[in-house]
């Protein structure tokens, strides 16, 4: 996978993850173009489209679009399920996730994504294992807070 973008129905970018080196300018250009292209599509249309030399796989969940760019030989359907598994992970972590969760806890959305996908490839597909890693980290946070109080 080359990159993943989350954006709202209004075209606001909510999360961006790039797995290939690109300049900021190029990233902005791609984002603008893709948001426009995807938002222009009608609901019943197919979830895949050819774009430049990449394949775009996207799916809408409530007010958010999840959009992945994959390479020619990559599998479209399994990418669709990568998106779904990520949504499930967010949902399980936040408890019926909504756009606001991702806005206000954007760092969590990134951490969860890093546990699930790394370098553009699926790292861990087990929901249990991914969430275990995140919960462990959360636990560490609390421990260290206690620690820092003691120090002061």
């Amino acid at each position: 996978m080359q990159f993943m973008l989350l954006f709202s129905r209004q075209g606001k970018l909510r999360l961006q993850k790039w797995y290939v080196p690109l300049s900021d300018k190029e990233k902005k250009k791609i984002t603008r173009e893709l948001v426009q292209t995807v938002l222009a599509r009608k609901p019943k249309m197919c979830s895949f489209l050819e774009w430049r030399d990449l394949k775009i796989v996207y799916k809408r969940y409530a007010s958010l679009y999840f959009c992945c760019a994959i390479e020619d030989q990559d599998n479209e359907l399994i990418t669709l399920e990568i998106i779904h598994r990520y949504v499930e992970l967010l949902d399980k972590y936040f408890g019926s996730v909504c756009e606001l969760d991702i806005i206000f806890n954007f760092e969590k959305a990134y951490f969860i994504l890093d546990e699930f996908l790394l370098g553009g490839e699926v790292q861990e597909t087990s929901k249990k294992n991914v969430l275990k890693a995140i919960e462990q980290a959360d636990l560490l946070q609390e421990v260290s807070y206690l620690g820092s109080w003691k120090e002061n």
Partner: protein, 930 residues
């Protein structure tokens, strides 16, 4: 929208100022103003948030790097996130970052190690590779690494290898990586397969052992029950991601040599095909997607092997079921996958049985991307047995096809028609139909090719002449038809001349009735046809000589047309019949060569697109197929991109200072034809019912360059991007002009709230522009007095919910109102002397940006609008021109002299006019053109 955007920026600037006042965040050791870790984290987090909203962040990097070495997990984590998102590879901080990472990798704390590995994988720069590429393999295969660390290490290494393969040393660790395929932990296997798939592409032999390991892993997954793999089962499908990756890995190799391994693999593939037929275990789309993802990957592998006829045919049948599935996604993928099956000899016939379904898809699918796949598949499955059906269906589709794919369909039809033509009259009919239905999309390659083939096959020449003659009878036929018709009748018109309905005079008057509507290139071609007619049909000689002799030909402003008229006229008068017959002999057959159409399709679609057909290389020499027809000296120059053409800042318009642009032009805009009454007041100030300047964005950066293209010509494409094309056609007479603007929607989606506005006065055009449609806007222009800056054209519309806006300069420059003036040398010099005040003269010496060709220069000067005066300048290399700029208020006499210096590749341009700013302005405008 604008308000909230403004508010957001205001709020963010306030927050940035606040955070900046705290930076650099002092460490807790340094005393009173110490920020606690929570605050540090909070501020870095806020900066990150602001960056992700799309704003630029120019500080905070150092603070984030400091967080990396915090021993508090929460701070470290935010620090790493900031670095991953915001630090680019050439940052000076990279040494500090690498140090922190090194410490965390050595910490033996798996959570910290994973954070560090994620950071390396996210940044993935060469510097990171240099620092860590040698360590990571060790972490990956170490016996005591935790599973989660192994997973991260594998993918981290993959990312570094992709960025800089030279930095990842192969070694004894590679063998151990392959054995990770046997790992008990499915997550480790999942990560490792990706790494191996990437590594084995460059070193297939080193990783060969992965084949049997992958097969046995796959076999275990495929044959497991739906609950065996617990959390690695996804909607009743066991380990779909891992299965797909394993099947992908196997596609890096040919079929296994070991018979046992191969047998086991074929069994796996059959099991997948069998399971696809079983009733679904769940109604959820996730279940069917995961299952079918494996199925499609399996089919890819079967096609890759291309050695198991039985499996290929089964795959084809399976895909056939999907062609009518209610899920659009599956129909799309089935069409795509079948395309590759069509190219296998084993499954080609099986694919063909689905022709009716595919044709139906082409007609009824509502999504253009699916229709595109259907067209691709029809092309791929075409052979001699079904070519007529497929070509006629594609032609029918072309009538309503999306603009975006028309050219490609045209190319495909042209290729199929040629390749599978049994009788060439069918081929000729097909190509002429293409021109009739989609003339704009028929490229030169296509119509050159039909001429080539007709020239080479004498069995079809009479038919071609007759058919093209009939096609030309249509009252409105496409210019490409005129070109083909002109050429074919010029060569083979004699074959139908016996029929009184297509006698030579009839043929000639039919062609000549189209002449005046055509472009210069086509008219040039037709002039060649006429001289051929004189040779073929002596009885037309007098008529045609009359046409050639007409002032509109002999003194045509276009040098190519002028030259042809002069030469052909002379040729027809002085040459004997024999000489004429020799000169104008029928074209010899073209050497058989590959179709350049095929090359064009390949260029459009990338390699492999036209694989169903023979390979061919691009043949540029095909361009000369029409002998003399080739174009026309370019009257369009490409100006240097950096030119500040109008010197806007230097010379603001003297009149109407409150209006920034176009102050001395009256432009009346109406949408419904020239009958509307301009409702403009007598003075320019009153006419400007313009929106305030704040409503109009600044012109796009290329605006000057685009404007520059139109200084010497009056029509062409003013602007084009992915969504929109704006064409211009204009004509000027004295101080009046009329301009047609054509706004073409290049997408398949309607533009809404479409409003092209001039900063002058507007009448609306239709507020919606349908996908693929074009709206036209007519402007009536009157030049009131001399002006320096062109009006602005602001185009706004909504496309799929997003507002688009665009400001261009309208291609109206003062020289458009030139009236050429002929005068004798004596008069010229007298006037030249009269205009001798220093301010009346403007001079520029500049380097040539284009080849110095006298003919091209002449054409440009004529296009600029002045008359060219011969025998005035004692040096015949120089150009001298004269004209009067007509405005309502006054006339400005202009004299110009252009002195090329071929040796130095320089020009000197001198302008003298009766009005000082005009001299300078014209000089600037014209100097950009050479």
């Amino acid at each position: 929208m604008g308000k909230s955007k403004e508010a957001e920026i205001k709020r963010i600037n306030k927050e940035l100022a606040n955070i900046r006042s705290k930076a650099p965040f002092p460490s807790s050791a340094s005393g009173d103003k110490a920020l606690d870790g929570y605050s540090k984290k909070k501020y870095v987090c806020k900066l990150l948030f602001i960056f992700l909203l799309g704003h630029d962040i120019d500080f905070g990097h150092m603070e984030a790097v400091n967080l990396l070495s915090s021993n508090k997990y929460t701070e470290k984590q935010i620090g790493y996130l900031f670095i991953s998102v915001l630090v680019n590879s050439n940052s000076e901080l990279i040494r500090l970052i690498n140090n922190a990472i090194k410490n965390d990798l050595a910490s033996r704390n798996p959570t910290f190690m994973c954070l560090a590995l994620h950071c390396i994988a996210n940044v993935g720069s060469r510097e990171m590779g240099e620092a860590f590429a040698a360590d990571i393999p060790r972490i990956l295969v170490a016996g005591d690494s935790m599973d989660s660390v192994k997973q991260s290490a594998a993918l981290c290494l993959l990312r570094l290898y992709k960025a800089s393969p030279d930095l990842v040393p192969m070694g004894e660790w590679t063998a151990r990586v392959v054995h990770l395929l046997n790992d008990q932990h499915m997550g480790v296997v999942t990560a490792a397969v990706s790494l191996i798939t990437c590594l084995c592409k460059k070193n297939p032999d080193d990783f060969k052992t992965c084949i049997s390991l992958a097969v046995s892993r796959l076999s275990r997954i495929v044959s497991s029950a739906s609950t065996d793999l617990q959390d690695y089962t996804y909607y009743f499908v066991p380990a779909p991601w891992l299965s797909v990756k394993l099947l992908r890995l196997l596609q890096c190799y040919p079929p296994p040599e070991d018979a046992a391994v191969k047998g086991r693999l074929v069994e796996c593939l059959e099991t997948v095909l069998n399971k696809a037929q079983e009733p679904p275990k769940s109604k959820k789309v996730q279940h069917s997607n995961a299952k079918n993802a494996i199925l499609f990957e399996t089919i890819s592998l079967i096609i890759h092997y291309d050695s198991e006829p039985n499996l290929l045919v089964r795959a084809c049948n399976q895909l056939g079921q999907f062609l009518q599935h209610r899920e659009t996604n599956l129909r799309y993928l089935a069409l795509e996958s079948m395309c590759t099956l069509a190219s296998s000899e084993f499954s080609h016939e099986a694919v063909k049985t689905h022709i009716d379904t595919v044709i139906n898809a082409l007609k009824t699918e509502r999504d253009v991307s699916v229709r595109q796949r259907a067209a691709d598949l029809l092309y791929a499955m075409c052979d001699r047995s079904n070519a007529k059906q497929i070509v006629s269906e594609m032609l029918r589709y072309l009538e309503t096809a999306d603009y975006a794919i028309r050219e490609e369909i045209v190319l495909k039809v042209a290729i199929l028609a040629e390749k599978y033509a049994v009788d060439y009259s069918w081929y000729v009919d097909t190509i002429l139909n293409l021109i009739r239905i989609a003339g704009d999309y028929v490229s030169e390659e296509v119509w050159y090719r039909v001429l080539q083939i007709v020239t080479n096959r004498d069995d079809v020449q009479g038919y071609a002449a007759k058919t093209v003659f009939e096609a030309l009878q249509a009252p409105a036929c496409h210019e490409n038809m005129v070109k083909v018709g002109g050429y074919i009748l010029g060569e083979f018109g004699n074959l139908i001349a016996g029929d009184p309905r297509s006698s030579p005079p009839v043929q000639f008057s039919l062609l000549h009735s189209k002449f005046h509507l055509c472009s210069v290139a086509t008219r040039a071609l037709l002039l060649s046809t006429y001289i051929k007619f004189i040779n073929l049909f002596p009885e037309t000689k007098a008529t045609i000589q009359g046409v050639l002799r007409a002032g509109s030909q002999l003194r045509n402003a276009d040098v190519e047309l002028q030259q042809r008229a002069v030469e052909y006229l002379t040729l027809s008068s002085v040459a004997s019949t024999d000489v004429l017959a020799t000169v104008l002999e029928e074209m010899p057959p073209f050497p058989e060569r590959e179709s350049s159409i095929l090359a064009k399709l390949k260029r459009k679609k990338g390699p492999g697109a036209a694989s169903a057909l023979d390979d061919s290389r691009r043949d540029t020499s095909n361009n000369d197929i029409n002998g003399g027809v080739e174009p026309t000296p370019s009257t369009v120059s490409t100006p240097s991109p950096s030119a500040d053409l109008l010197g806007l800042r230097a010379a603001p318009p003297p009149a109407a200072p409150s209006v920034p642009v176009g102050g001395n032009l009256l432009v009346d805009v109406f949408s419904d034809g020239p009958t509307a009454q301009p409702s403009l007041g007598p003075t320019p100030e009153e006419a400007f019912l313009s929106p305030g300047p704040e409503d109009i964005g600044p012109p796009i950066p290329e605006a000057d360059e685009l404007l520059n293209k139109f200084v010497c010509k009056n029509s062409g494409v003013l602007f084009e991007n992915q969504l929109l094309q704006i064409g211009v056609k204009s004509e000027f007479r004295q101080n009046l002009g009329r301009m047609y603007l054509f706004y073409g929607n290049k997408t398949s989606v309607q533009f809404q709230s479409f409003s092209p506005t001039l900063v002058v006065q507007t009448k609306r055009v239709a507020a919606q522009v349908d996908g693929g449609a074009q709206v036209q806007q007519v402007l009536n222009i009157e030049c009131l007095r001399d002006f320096l800056t062109p009006p602005l054209l602001s185009v706004r519309f909504r496309y799929g919910g997003t507002a688009q806006s665009l400001t261009l300069k309208l291609p109206v420059t003062i020289n458009k109102f030139f009236q050429p003036t002929e005068m004798a040398a004596q008069d010229f010099f007298q006037r030249w002397k009269q205009l001798s005040l220093p301010l009346q003269e403007a001079q520029k010496i500049f380097k040539a940006n284009h080849p110095m060709d006298a003919e091209v220069t002449k054409a440009k000067l004529l296009g600029f609008g002045s008359a060219l005066l011969d025998n005035v300048d004692p040096n015949p290399e120089n150009f001298v021109g004269a004209g009067i700029i007509q405005t309502k208020a006054l006339q400005v006499g202009c004299l110009l002299r252009l002195e090329p210096n071929a040796q130095a590749q320089m020009y000197r341009l001198t302008l003298r006019t009766s009005k000082e700013p005009v001299s300078r302005h014209l000089c600037e405008l014209l100097a950009q053109q050479f």
